[in-house]
């Protein structure tokens, strides 16, 4: 039996009665993660890959050890396919700058979706603008799910790249990514999956999925900010030019030319976020300890509970699919109350809830709203926090009556 009270005890931030319903924005970190980072700072703080003394060996071992943990977590074929980045955004930019500039040409089609996060839209817009490619967006239906008929129609036009999110951060929609990747690959496209809201909550098996790239962030999976992962199929990564040049990504440098390091280090220029990578490793351990199936089940239970509770509130409209087809994210609007006002009122009840466009402005435009309020859940979320949100909503309705 999943013991959420025991899980919460690992998260000191909950010691003072905080209700945190913004995990899709960033998750909290357990002591195990901060402890692993602190251990590095206090016991073997040093740079990796270059110093010939024992604390640097320890640091290098932990840094590279995380790579194997991440590889296993997403079932990649090799640690050479696990590139550390600053986060999902940098991971996608890496692909846009390195793969994109070498492979996307004038007239090429890039297919995205209307509810992608800005981080999976803007890098492609920049690329398309530079290279003369063009972008088409797959729309959503009334339930907030992608229109697969339109997706297939766009695939029929032979896109060079297809990029979409595993889970919509704004609506919580779980996309049928197995099917989408398979179709896009059959259409001959290179496929990138933005897994920022996917891997942390549902896990992922990149080999079974068959995508070319999968990107995700440490800070949305109990790890620290400043570290994320790009998974790329080795065959593609080998052929891609470097993203950033600098120390650690080279084999030899002369005044005329540079030979680049092997994978994955070819893409890791400069001193890396060592403590953060070590923290990410501890986060993967922590999630494995809970069991990803348990994480999924717990989130589903909380999501169903919250969906039920929110549907009983008068004047509240939820966006997106029913709980069976959504992740632990619920976006909603209140009649006559702006999301920011709700968030301010909730804040005074120590309830953290997101208000805004969730970095998905094309979606907000599509829905005809400027912003929504959003509650999102994770391993530590308990029903009491949902009840407190409902209390804050009713308080807001009383004030704005």
């Amino acid at each position: 039996m999943y013991d959420v009270a025991a899980v919460r005890r690992d998260f000191p931030i909950f010691d003072n009665g905080l209700a945190y319903l913004d995990s899709a924005n960033t998750s909290q970190r357990p002591r195990q993660v901060t402890g692993a980072m602190m251990e590095y700072f206090e016991k073997f703080n040093s740079n990796i890959h270059r110093a010939a003394y024992h604390i640097a060996e320890e640091a290098t071992e932990r840094y590279e050890g995380t790579r194997e943990k991440v590889r296993a977590f997403i079932n990649a074929a090799s640690t050479k396919e696990i590139i550390y980045t600053r986060g999902t955004t940098e991971a996608i930019n890496l692909v846009a700058y390195s793969w994109g500039r070498a492979n996307v040409h004038p007239g090429d089609l890039i297919v995205l979706t209307i509810f992608d996060h800005h981080s999976n839209i803007v890098p492609w817009q920049i690329l398309a603008h530079e290279n003369g490619a063009h972008i088409e967006y797959v729309d959503i239906d009334e339930r907030g799910e992608l229109r697969m008929d339109q997706f297939r129609e766009l695939l029929g036009r032979g896109p060079k790249l297809v990029a979409f999110s595993h889970v919509s951060n704004a609506l919580g929609t779980i996309n049928p990514i197995d099917d989408m990747v398979a179709q896009a690959k059959r259409a001959g496209a290179t496929v990138l999956v933005d897994g920022a809201q996917g891997a942390p909550h549902h896990g992922v098996d990149v080999r079974a999925l068959g995508c070319d790239f999968y990107a995700f962030s440490g800070h949305k999976m109990l790890g620290p900010t400043g570290v994320g992962v790009l998974y790329g199929r080795r065959e593609l990564l080998e052929r891609m030019p470097p993203f950033m040049g600098g120390g650690d990504m080279i084999k030899t440098v002369s005044t005329e030319r540079t030979t680049y390091h092997d994978l994955p280090w070819k893409f890791e220029a400069g001193t890396q976020a060592i403590a953060e990578v070590i923290g990410l490793g501890a986060a993967v351990d922590y999630l494995n300890g809970l069991g990803m199936q348990n994480v999924r089940d717990h989130e589903r239970e909380i999501t169903e509970y919250a969906y039920e509770a929110l549907s009983e509130v008068d004047g509240l409209t939820m966006f997106g699919p029913p709980p069976s087809r959504r992740a632990g994210v619920i976006s909603f609007a209140l009649e006559g109350i702006h999301p920011h006002d709700l968030a301010t009122i909730a804040d005074r009840d120590q309830v953290c809830v997101r208000a805004g466009h969730h970095c998905a402005m094309p979606l907000m435009t599509r829905l005809g709203v400027a912003a929504t309020a959003r509650a999102s859940f994770y391993v530590y979320t308990q029903k009491d926090e949902v009840d407190r949100l409902v209390g804050s909503i009713k308080e807001a309705q009383r004030i704005f009556k």
Binding site: H340, T344, I345, R348, H357, A370, E395, I399, F400
Partner: protein, 137 residues
């Protein structure tokens, strides 16, 4: 479950702020406006625009439009009340302290841009001043 006792006298959402939000003054558009300008807050999508009729250096009429939270919309409504009939010279002297003072509530750092959005419209639109973030922060 609320940790804060419910109170009819709400410090943040005072009655007159809610009144300005629900019944905004000078709301709408002006045809043949001498000056029109609109600004948005990219963080939250709040929008405020203003139309001005100016004669002999005096703001004869002003209307605002937009959408957003109670703070941004009430702040715009309050500002238009103050601007009507004011000379441009006097309008130019309105600063962020005036706007925040008029709201009369404590604004958290996260909401300060909401409160000052209408002032930004006034400054950038009516005076052609470039948006000066330091000045508004």
């Amino acid at each position: 479950m609320s940790s804060r006792p419910a109170s009819a006298d709400d410090q943040f959402y005072r009655e007159y702020i809610l009144d300005h939000y629900k019944n905004p003054r000078n709301f709408g558009r002006l045809e043949h406006a001498d000056i029109s300008h609109e600004e948005n807050n990219p963080l939250c999508g709040d929008v405020v625009g203003m139309d001005f009729k100016v004669k002999d250096g005096v703001i004869e009429d002003v209307r605002f439009h937009g959408r957003g939270c109670a703070i941004s919309q009430a702040s715009a409504s309050l500002l238009t009340e103050r601007l009507k009939g004011l000379s441009l010279d006097d309008a130019r002297k309105i600063n962020k302290e005036d706007v925040l003072g008029e709201l009369g509530i404590e604004i958290s750092p996260a909401r300060i841009k909401c409160a000052l959005l209408s002032l930004k419209v006034l400054k950038v639109g009516a005076y052609g001043l470039a948006g000066d973030d330091e000045d508004e922060e």
